[in-house]
């Protein structure tokens, strides 16, 4: 029997190489590493928990079932985010979803569903007042992100939530570097305007 390695400290490329050898624990490790970032990106694009899970699943299946096609000169995460972004954009193109609030999906039919589809914003609060302010800002920014154009949304999420460089975002989204810079600039500007009321 093959001894199961501890993969948590291995770089993505090595885990992918093990997955290409048909090691199931390597697939699970890739899912463990990226289920939250991918789900978060897609959720903030489509604003519906169930849909986001379905799309995240679709993105992972597309990537993991074609893991043999992965080329190590690219980052695995860039490939995964590219697929995740594509499935989200395709979904949004097919169904023009209304923009919703962080307080729950508009598709929710009951109070329980509203609660299930809403999410908390994690905060690092030093005091009750700061916690309240931070929470308010977090909620407001989630709402503001929801009003952005999908292309701006994916760029700003990759830049500031996933911490990707402009070059990586351009490669991930198949966009020219200048376009990525413009999108991020406009997204920041729109977010600043959307959050203006908090400063007053």
């Amino acid at each position: 029997m093959t001894k199961v390695l501890d993969l948590t400290n291995l770089p993505d490329a090595d885990v992918v190489a093990l997955a290409q050898q048909g090691r199931e624990h390597a697939f699970r490790e890739l899912i463990r590493r990226y289920e939250r970032p991918v789900f978060s990106l897609i959720f903030r694009m489509v604003r519906d928990r169930e849909t986001a899970e379905d799309l995240a699943q679709e993105a992972f299946i597309k990537v993991l079932n074609h893991i043999d096609r992965y080329r190590p000169e690219f980052k695995f995460s860039s490939w995964l985010f590219k697929i995740a972004n594509n499935v989200s954009i395709d979904f949004l193109r097919k169904r023009q979803l209304p923009t919703i609030s962080i307080d729950g999906s508009p598709m929710a039919a009951s109070a329980a569903e509203v609660e299930a589809t809403s999410f908390d914003v994690a905060v690092r609060a030093e005091s009750a007042l700061e916690e309240m302010e931070s929470r308010e800002l977090g909620s407001a920014i989630e709402k503001a992100i929801a009003t952005l154009r999908p292309e701006y949304r994916s760029c700003i999420m990759l830049r500031h939530v996933e911490g990707r460089s402009y070059e990586e975002i351009a490669a991930t989204l198949d966009l020219p570097l200048g376009t990525v810079k413009t999108y991020i600039h406009r997204a920041r500007h729109e977010l600043r305007e959307a959050l203006e009321h908090l400063r007053e």
């Binding site: 093959t2 290409q20 050898q21 048909g22 199931e24 697939f27 699970r28 899912i31 463990r32 289920e35 939250r36 970032p37 789900f39 978060s40 959720f43 986001a52 899970e53 995240a56 699943q57 992972f60 299946i61 993991l64 079932n65 043999d68 999410f119 908390d120 914003v121 994690a122 905060v123 690092r124 931070s134 800002l137 977090g138 920014i141 989630e142 700003i156 500031h160 939530v161 911490g163 810079k181 991020i184 600039h185 920041r188 500007h189 977010l191 600043r192 959050l195 400063r199």
Partner: protein, 195 residues
Amino acid sequence: MKRHLLPNEIDLLLDAEVGFGVTPLKAHVRTCDECRTSLEEARTVVTALEHLPHLAPSPLFANRLMSQVQVFVPWHVAALDSARRYVPRSQPVRYLVGALAASMALVMTSLSLWLVTRADMLVFFADLVASRTREFLVGAAGNVLAGTFGEPALRVLRDSGLPGITLALAVVLTATVTVALGMRALVGVASRRRS
């Protein structure tokens, strides 16, 4: 710098870019309240974005996903895994098996090399075996012929050489085929009469 910062210049400062062009921008921000306020507002947005949490899918997500992933094991990996099953677990036994395999390989290699150096001897023995086999087969066939057709027939066959042997073989073959066909026809007639 006498004018206020442009939006793309604020972006440069937000991205903490360094370089020749950024120094005057930083200097301007230190002296201009309006630009400092703009930069701080932009920083607030960026900080809020950077503090957005990663959201978790349902706990069953990974298992549900894995049930739809086709884990494909390439043939060379499967072959290696199968081979590994036969490798002993304990280290002393592994060393022992390794030593045995190495000595076997050494013996086989030495034997092969020795045989290669003695190629002339191999050819001689092969020739000897072939001629003995031929003699044995010819003798056996002669005995069968002498027993069946008698010694004179064998003598005639020997004297006539290859054409005689070929003719005799053709006659025997024709006779065999004729007999076989005749037997088959008889069996067919008998079965038709019975039915």
